[in-house]
Amino acid sequence: MEDLLLTTLYISLLIHVLLVCFAAWRLWNGENVIDRLMGSDMLSNLCLAVLVLAALIHRQKIYIDVALGLAAIGYITIITLAKYITDKRMF
């Protein structure tokens, strides 16, 4: 059962790394600014998924703490950039 879970986790990690590559390529030639903003949000969430998979594979909880910090920084960045694009100023 342990081997089956590890195999599933490694296949999932491979799929997620491929998804990060595809999303970064699509983000590089996005059509407008909102598209690229949304793509960067999705890319940060995919990196979060890769960190959680690393925590599941290595069985260490420090990766989940790193993922929490990354999620907080990504959330504040997306909200602030959306407000900046809308109003042409931040505050």
Partner: protein, 119 residues
């Protein structure tokens, strides 16, 4: 000696990882294929809510990885997903990005309510 509950937890973790990977793949596919910013927002939200949260459910079920951190991150993601989608959609509406294939646009009929500052 593997007890019955550990087997149940392993099966639950495997199912959560498989379903989360499937939803992440569907989200990236929607980000490639959908025609419009407003419809692509569905796909981008699906990666956050279903993909990462189901992987974190697998991390919370599996015992040696601490489940408290995973629950805090699940709560944060569920709280942060809708404001992010609202901010992106509102920004797209306010810089007048068009909806492709829309027969009519209800928000364009009210320029005063559309242009006022919400805060």
């Amino acid at each position: 000696m593997v007890t019955f509950m550990e087997t149940v937890f392993y099966i639950f973790a495997i199912a959560a990882v498989v379903i989360g990977t499937f939803f992440s793949a569907v989200g990236v596919l929607g980000y490639f294929r959908l025609p419009d910013v407003y419809t692509r927002l569905h796909a981008a939200g699906m990666v956050s809510i279903f993909g990462v949260v189901l992987l974190l459910v697998a991390a919370a079920v599996r015992t040696p990885v601490s489940w408290g951190h995973a629950l805090v991150l699940i709560f944060f993601l569920l709280a942060a997903g809708p404001p992010t989608a609202h901010a992106i959609g509102s920004a797209a509406k306010r810089i007048n990005l068009p909806m492709k294939g829309a027969r009519r646009d209800d928000l364009m009929k009210q320029p005063k309510a559309h242009n006022r500052k919400p805060y």
